[in-house]
């Protein structure tokens, strides 16, 4: 599995606190039994009117096309555990998300897909979103080894990321099945010692 050390690209800002996963992907798209088409749906109801015409959401503005880094505010991805949300963002083109804070389940789902969820403080995010809005062609580089966000090749700020999530990404173990399977004998031992597994 690939190691994820750096993510480079333009940034797209999506502003607002508490953007829940129903807003990121409406439930009706969860009826599809594969993730294949999810890239068509992120923020669908915020992007399109009843006739399907774009309403001017950042995901549809020409200057943000091809962006790989998403700038968000507090508690992004709250609510439903649907992995369809990060799947939709990823398949649209998002490779990394920087925010003020993330809902727990959402951040875990992102890691499983190899998407870092990095955090900065409120003031820093205000600056980042303004920068992306005013100069959408700005290139950023998220360096997970140094926990640094570079702007146009220069160090811009330091970010935080949960250490175990960072380790999983930089060591290429974010797709955890292999790691967990490697411990199958230990797993069997733990199960055997649990009273409810061994019938009390």
């Amino acid at each position: 599995m690939s190691k994820i050390n750096q993510i480079e690209g333009k940034a797209v800002p999506v502003e607002g606190n508490d953007i829940d996963t129903d807003r990121i992907i409406p439930a009706r798209y969860l009826k599809e039994i594969t993730f294949t088409n999810m890239g068509q749906y992120p923020f669908y109801d915020e992007r399109f009117d009843a006739e399907g015409k774009p309403k001017g959401h950042p995901f549809d503005l020409p200057q943000f096309q091809g962006s790989h880094i998403l700038f968000v505010n507090q508690n992004f991805g709250c609510g439903s555990s649907r992995e369809h949300a990060p799947q939709a963002l990823m398949r649209w083109g998002v490779r990394a998300i920087i925010g003020e804070s993330f809902a727990e389940i959402f951040a875990g789902n992102c890691t499983m897909l190899g998407i870092p969820t990095a955090t900065v403080n409120h003031g820093e995010m205000m600056k980042l979103q303004t920068l992306a809005n005013e100069n959408p062609q700005t290139r950023f580089l998220l360096d997970l080894d140094k926990k640094t966000l570079m702007k146009e090749g220069e160090e811009y700020l330091k970010f935080d990321i949960h250490e175990s999530k960072r380790n999983a990404l930089v060591n290429g173990t974010w797709d955890s099945t292999g790691l967990l399977l490697g411990n199958a004998p230990k797993t069997a031992q733990v199960a055997k010692n649990l009273p409810y597994v061994n019938g009390f």
Binding site: G108, S164, F200
Partner: protein, 468 residues
């Protein structure tokens, strides 16, 4: 760092290994699956040529997409039918127990687990659904996961997890008459916020929780996630043991004493240490109604909607969006807000005690002609029990529709949806924009009794006054 809590004990007893990432490999004692978040996970393990490692520890049902009017197959919705077909094939292929319509146990996954005694104290429980926190009512570590994590549980019965901090939330004193578990959980969310629980497991304790029934505790734990806490739990006690006795999957009579002994041993120690402790007073809690687009935007039934200036600068944007979406104004009373739809059901409030409380309000009264009202039992057994007690008749005579078990309009992945900008009084858990199936639809969360009161009055009402 917390010490001696139920969280610590259950975490430790399920730890398989410390992974090189720093995460913990955690054994999952009970894995629940449903039709929406499992098909891709089964495909992933099939692609890797893996099988389900512990098929006897995974149980499946169908709830999210099932219609509640007619459950005859094939479903009218082709996508829903395809999804049913996928889970039926997968459980067969991988040898997983499946509670389908014919089983008599089909229902919302968080209702049927406890109902059958699958959910037991001291377990780790995972399900591809955020409201898995419900099972914490039994003293478990129960949490929602995404589909790729469902794959991991299927393939290994384990997850790579980071430990949470533990916040003890005490509610002491006695609740006022007419104040329910739903009001308690909405109150806690209102006070601590929807982001307040990020990074925490919530341990609920104190006189109010000690006095609650298991079904009430489930309502509270169900909404821990709405406060940002992935896990919420109550320590097991005699109420828990009494509930579990004699259930289909509960320990047999000859093992019962040993099981109870074990369950007692995993409760938090008297001198347990917590990362944080918060105290609330029961008497301060009124029947609560949400007015906004996040579950912490709520007021007591006799309160007025808050002024925008009351919120911190970085919250103003969300508050303004909430007022715009809800077409409500600061300063107006919540009471008297006209409603179009009344929905009683969901994993929060679709259990028998919820239906009984709502039926007390419906009995001998009529649903307002301007309201479409319906009751959706959380499971086939809840439906059967309600019909045995005649609750279905009380509801239908009052003008409520009586439906079959499913998630229904909580998330509207089925034909039950709001139309246009309708307002619903809902006993469910999320008032997010678009949640109930219309992007302009509006949701006001409250207890099932309050929903029934709103249905009768045609507007948000104080159930205590309606019952007078």
């Amino acid at each position: 760092m917390s010490k001696g809590t139920l969280y610590n004990k259950v975490w430790d007893s399920h730890t398989v290994d410390k992974l090189p990432t720093g995460q913990t490999q955690l054994f999952i004692g009970l894995h629940l699956i449903h039709e929406v978040t499992s098909p891709q996970a089964f495909d992933m393990i099939a692609e890797k040529g893996l099988k389900v490692a512990y098929p006897e520890r995974t149980f499946a049902t169908v709830d999210h997409i099932v219609p509640t009017k007619s459950q005859a197959r094939p479903f009218q919705d082709g996508e829903a039918e395809q999804m049913m077909d996928a889970i039926e094939k997968n459980v067969k292929k991988f040898g997983v127990s499946f509670f389908d319509f014919k089983s008599g146990h089909q229902g919302i996954v968080h209702i049927i687990g406890p109902e059958m005694g699958l959910t037991q104290p001291g377990m780790t429980i995972a399900c591809g659904d955020s409201h898995t926190s419900t099972h914490g009512a039994f003293g478990t570590l129960a949490f929602g996961i995404g589909t790729t994590q469902v794959r991991d549980v299927l393939a290994t019965q384990c997850l790579a997890m980071d430990a949470l901090k533990v916040r003890r939330i005490n509610v002491n004193g006695k609740l006022k008459p007419g104040v329910t578990a739903k009001d308690v959980t909405l109150y806690i969310i209102q006070k601590l916020g929807v982001k307040g629980g990020i990074g925490f497991a919530y341990e609920y304790g104190g006189e109010v929780f000690d006095a609650m029934t298991m079904e009430e505790r489930m309502t509270v734990c169900n909404m821990a996630i709405e406060g940002g806490a992935r896990i919420g739990y109550v320590n097991p006690d005699q109420t828990t043991f009494d509930y579990l006795k004699g259930k289909k999957y509960s320990p047999a009579a000859d093992k019962w004493d040993k099981a109870v002994q074990y369950w007692k041993s995993i409760a938090s120690d008297k001198n347990a240490e917590y990362d944080d402790v918060v105290n609330f007073t029961a008497a301060d809690i009124e029947p609560i109604v949400t007015w906004g687009i996040t579950p912490d935007q709520s007021v007591g039934i006799n309160d007025k909607l808050p002024e925008v200036a009351r919120f911190s600068a970085d919250e103003v944007k969300t508050v303004e969006l909430a007022y715009k979406h809800m077409e409500l104004k600061p300063g107006q009373s919540i009471k008297g807000t006209p409603i179009n739809v009344a929905f009683i059901g969901s994993c929060t409030n679709g259990r028998i005690s919820d239906l009984r409380e709502a039926a007390k309000v419906a009995k001998g009264r009529k649903v307002s002609p301007s309201v479409r009202a319906f009751v959706v039992p959380g499971s086939q057994p809840v439906k059967a029990q309600a019909e045995l007690e005649g609750l279905d008749k009380i509801f239908t005579e009052a003008g409520f529709e009586w439906r079959a078990a499913g998630c229904s309009m909580c998330l509207a992945m089925n034909p039950d949806k709001l139309q246009g900008n309708e307002i619903s009084a809902s006993s469910s858990n999320r008032n997010f924009i678009g949640r109930q199936g219309s992007k302009t639809g509006r949701t006001m969360l409250m207890s099932p009794a309050m929903v029934a009161a709103a249905a009768i009055e045609g507007k948000i009402a104080d159930v205590r006054e309606v019952l007078k």
